[in-house]
Assembly symmetry: C2
Homo-oligomer: 98 residues x 2
Amino acid sequence: MEKDFEYIELFELYKELLTEKQREIFSSHYLYDLSLSEIAEPDGFSRQSVYDAIKKVKSKLTEYETKLRLYEKFSALDSLAEEQSEDVKARIREIIGK
Amino acid sequence: MEKDFEYIELFELYKELLTEKQREIFSSHYLYDLSLSEIAEPDGFSRQSVYDAIKKVKSKLTEYETKLRLYEKFSALDSLAEEQSEDVKARIREIIGK
């Protein structure tokens, strides 16, 4: 579960770099909690193909984080924001979208 | 020139998303100031192919900024950092890599 939570955080940061179909499949499974079969059936895909697509999205998300380290940077900024005045905290969080 | 400067800033932010060859061509032209012919000749490419490759890199950089807005976000954080104490300023700049 811990691991899934991490992918959801990465998805929020990098979803614009994914294709529309990849966003749709990932959201259906992780945000709307649909099963692989529930995602596959309406489009006539196999459960395995949905599994593979999600695996690919997770691999892309990990690759983006390795390359850009936005989760790491924004987490560090969020911790720093926590120590600042309410005004500065709010401004930092607005910029990083927290 | 203004425009080239912007691409150099975007390149620093997104270069990890480019291929090694794209990074090499862009750096040769914009950071090491080689002409298109100078970049093309050693590898036996045409001047036009180097021009096209640079154009493609610029288009990718613009696309990444449209999608992730890191230049916009890091610039806003840099301005905010400017108003803070030396310690906070230094910490913010270290996180965003300025």
